[in-house]
Amino acid sequence: MLLQARGVGKAFSGVSVLRDIDFNLEAGEIHALAGENGAGKSTFIKILSGVYSHDSGHIELDNKTVEFKNIKNSELAGIRTVHQEINLVPFFKVYQNIFAGDEIRKNFLGIDYTDDTLMIKKSREVFAKLCIDIDPLSYTHGLDTSRQRIVQIAKILVQNPRVMIFDEPTTSLGEKERAQLLEIIKSLKSQNIGIIYISHNLDEIMEIADRISVFRDGAKVGSKDIEECTKTSIVSMMIGKKEYVLYSRKEKPDPEATLLRLEGLTNKKLKNVNISLHKGEILGIAGVMGAGKSEIARAIYGIDKIEHGRTYLKEKQFNPDIHFSLNNRIAFVPEERQAEGLVANFSVEKNISLAYLNSFKRGLKIDSKRETATAKEYIDTMGIKTAGPGQAIKFLSGGNQQKVILSRWLYGDFEIGLFDEPTKGIDVKAKEDIYRLIGKMADNGKGVIFFSSYLPELLTVCDRIIVMVNGKVKGEYKTGEPDVEQHIFEAMLSGGTNNECPD
C-alpha cells in the first residue's frame, strides 16, 4: 500500500471537522474524493499535504508511519498538490518556472550558479513523457490556461512525486483542453504515481477514476470501485437522507406578474441564459463555484457587459446599468461582503444610507437626525446587534454586517433583489435570520434571486431553483417535489459535457 490513513480526525477549537477517516491509495491508482462543500475533503487533503496536523489516527506512507509538521515535510516525503490556482511567474521561461525554488546548481571555480542547460534538458524529458509539445524556453505568459496547468504538473513531476493530489484541475478549461488534461493525468498511472483526484464533476470522475471515496459531514461514507458506481448512487451517498422543510410563506408567487426576464443572455461567462422572476418569488440559482452564478447577478445589475441577449423589467426592455438599477429599485448584495459591499470605516447608519443618500438631503446637508432615526428603525426590525447606529460596521459580526447591507436596500424599497451568496461566512443563527428576512421580503411582493452554491439553503428558502453549469442553464426544478435534491445535485455535478442542456 502506498498511502494509508487510519482513523484520522481533526477538530478546530473543539469543533470536530473530520472524524475517523480510513483511506488508502495504491501506486498507479486514481482515487477520487467527492462530497459537498464542507464535507471534509479539503481538510483531509490539507492534512496529507502537511498544512494541518491531525489530532487522532495515523498515516502511513510505504507502510511507515509519517507525521507531517509542515508542507515541506510532506513534499519531501513525495506528496505534492496541484492547486486549483495556477501560481507560475508569468515572465519566467517555462523551464525557470518548472525549477523555480528548486534550481539545479553547479559549481565552477567555487562559484555556485544555476545549471540552465540541465534544467532545460530535464524539462524537455518531462514534456516528452507527457507527449506534450511545449518549448521549455518559451515564456509562461504566452501559454493558455491548460498549458500553464501542464507546466504546473511538470513542475511537480521533476521532483519525482509518489502521491499527486489534484484539486479541481479542470476548472476554467474548455472541452478539448479538459480531455487532454484528463489523458495526461491517466498517463501518470503508468509512472506508478498514486493520484488523489478532487472534482465537482462526476462525469470526469466516472471517466478517469479507479476508485471513489465519498465524504459527508466530516466523515467518510464509503469507498467503492468506480465500476460499481453510477452518478446517481454517488450523489445519494453524498447527500444522505435529509429532510428539507420549506419555510412557510404567507403569500404565493404570482406567475402572472413577471418582474424580470432574461432572454438569451450571453457574455464572456454566460451562454444563452433564459430566466424569469415573478412577483413574490424567491428564485434560487444553484451551481458549483465558477458555474456562472455571480455573473448573472453582475450582468443584470449592470456591472458586467452583455454581449447578446435582452433583459426585460416588467416586460419593458432595458439596458442594464448600475444607475438604472438604483432608479428602478433593483438591489444587489455582492458575494464579497467586505470587498464589495460595505465601507468598513463607515458607521452602521452611513452604510445604510449610502445607496439612496440623496433622499436624506435637507437643503444642502444630509439630515443626520433622520439618518440616525432610519438606522435605528432597521437595527430594531432586522435585529442588528450593534452598540448603536454610530458604531463602525467593521466591528460587527458577518451576519450583522449582512443585515446592514440588506437594510440599505430595504430602505430603497427594492422590487428585485439579487442576493449573491448572502449567507457566506456567517454563523448558523444569523443564517436562519436572513432566510426568514428574505421570506418576508417575498411575502411583501418583492422578487428575490438567491444565488448560492450551498444547496440545502436553496431547498429550504426558494420556490424554484435553476441550476447553472459552465455558464449555461442546466435545468429548472420546483422545490418540495420528491427527490428534487438528488436531481439538482446530479445536474450541478455533471460537467456540461453531455448535451442534455436546453440550448
Binding site: E340, V343, A355, K365, F395
Partner: protein, 328 residues
C-alpha cells in the same frame, strides 16, 4: 463581539485615547516646549504671525484633503502653485486688472486639476505617476515662461491686491480670515453634504461605492478640481504676500501639504483626513517652522525635524490602528 469590545480594560481605553488624540497631544506638548524655550514664541504678535504663515498652507491642504479622502494623491501641488502665481502676475500686469488676473489664476488652477483628474480618474493612471508627470510638465512650463526670472509688480499696483496677502482687519491678518472661511466651508462640504460622504465612501471602499451607485470617476475627478481651485486661491494670496511671482515659489508646499493631511488622518481615530484635522495638521507643521526658527535652529534641521515628526505621528496612529484591524 460588542461585549468583548466593551469589556476590554483600561489599557484598551488608553490605546483608544492615544489613537484618537495622540497627534493633538503631541502638538500641545511641542507648543508648551516652544513656549518655555523661546520667550518670543507665545506672544499675541507671534501667534497672529503663525496664523498668517499657516493660511496659505492650510488652503492648499484643505483642497488636498478632498483628494486624499477619496483615496487619491496629488504630487503636482508644489509646481502648480508656482505656475498659477506666474500667470496671475503676467495677466494682472498686462491688463492692469486684478479681476482678470484672478480669473486667469482660476482657469490655470482648474485646468491643472482637470488634467490630473482626467489622467487619474478617467484614464486610470496611478495617482503618483499621473500627478508626478503633470508636475513635471508644470515645472517645465514655469521655466519656459519666466526663463527662471521672478516677476515683480510696480509700486502703483492695486491696493486690493496688496490687501489680500498683507492686509489686516483689526489685529487679524486678512489671509487668516480667508483661511478660516475656507476651512469652515470645506468642513461643511466634507462632513455634512452627500458630496463629502460619497468622497469618503470612495476612499473607504471604491467598489462598494460603485455598487451603491456612486459615480466614482466623476467624484474622483471633482476632487482634483477642488484641489486645483484651492491652489489657485492660495496662489493669489501667496503672490500678494511676497509681492512678486517667483519661478520656484511654493515648491515647499508639496511636502508641507502632504504632512498636514497625513497628520489629519491620524487624528480623531477616523483614519480618514478631515477638514478639522487638516487645519490642526497645518498648524503643527507651521508651528514647527516658526518655533524652530525662533530657537535659531538652522533650516536644514527644520526639515529633519519635520520628517521625524511626520514619521512618529503616523507610526503612533498605525500602531493603535493596526491593533484594531488585527483583532477584527
Amino acid at each position: 463581539m460588542n461585549a468583548q469590545t466593551e469589556s476590554n480594560s483600561a489599557d484598551a481605553n488608553k490605546g483608544e485615547f492615544f489613537r484618537k488624540y495622540g497627534t493633538v497631544l503631541a502638538a500641545v506638548v511641542i507648543f508648551i516646549v516652544f513656549s518655555i524655550a523661546a520667550p518670543r514664541f507665545l506672544t499675541s504678535k507671534n501667534m497672529f504671525m503663525l496664523l498668517r504663515q499657516m493660511s496659505i498652507l492650510t488652503i492648499i491642504s484643505l483642497g488636498f484633503t478632498f483628494v486624499m479622502a477619496a483615496g487619491g494623491f496629488d504630487m503636482s501641488i508644489g509646481y502648480s502653485i508656482g505656475l498659477v502665481s506666474i500667470i496671475f502676475a503676467i495677466v494682472m500686469i498686462g491688463t492692469g486688472s486684478l479681476l482678470l488676473g484672478c480669473l486667469a489664476a482660476l482657469i490655470v488652477g482648474l485646468l491643472v486639476g482637470s488634467l490630473n483628474g482626467f489622467l487619474i480618474a478617467y484614464i486610470g493612471l496611478p495617482d503618483f505617476i499621473g500627478s508626478f508627470a503633470v508636475g513635471s510638465i508644470l515645472y517645465g512650463l514655469k521655466m519656459l515662461i519666466t526663463r527662471g526670472n521672478p516677476i515683480y509688480f510696480d509700486d502703483n499696483v492695486s491696493k486690493v491686491f496688496v490687501f489680500l496677502g498683507q492686509g489686516f482687519v483689526g489685529p487679524i491678518p486678512f489671509p487668516v480670515i480667508l483661511m478660516v472661511v475656507y476651512a469652515v466651508l470645506t468642513a461643511f462640504v466634507l462632513g455634512k453634504t452627500p458630496f463629502g460622504r460619497r468622497i469618503y465612501a470612495i476612499g473607504g471602499n471604491s467598489l462598494a461605492a460603485l455598487y451603491a451607485g456612486i459615480k466614482i470617476k466623476r467624484y474622483r475627478f471633482s476632487t482634483f478640481i477642488i484641489s486645483g481651485f484651492s491652489i489657485a486661491f492660495s496662489s493669489v494670496i501667496m503672490t500678494s504676500r511676497i509681492a512678486s511671482a517667483q519661478p520656484l515659489g511654493g515648491e515647499e508646499y508639496l511636502m508641507d501639504a502632504i504632512s498636514s493631511v497625513y497628520l489629519s488622518t491620524t487624528m480623531f481615530g477616523e483614519g480618514e483626513p478631515t477638514a478639522k484635522g487638516t487645519f490642526i495638521g497645518a498648524f503643527i507643521i507651521t508651528m514647527l517652522t516658526n518655533g524652530l526658527t525662533m530657537l535659531n535652529v538652522p533650516y536644514y534641521f527644520q526639515y529633519i525635524t519635520k520628517g521625524v515628526v511626520v514619521i512618529l505621528a503616523v507610526l503612533i496612529s498605525v500602531t493603535y490602528g493596526q491593533k484594531m484591524r488585527v483583532k477584527f
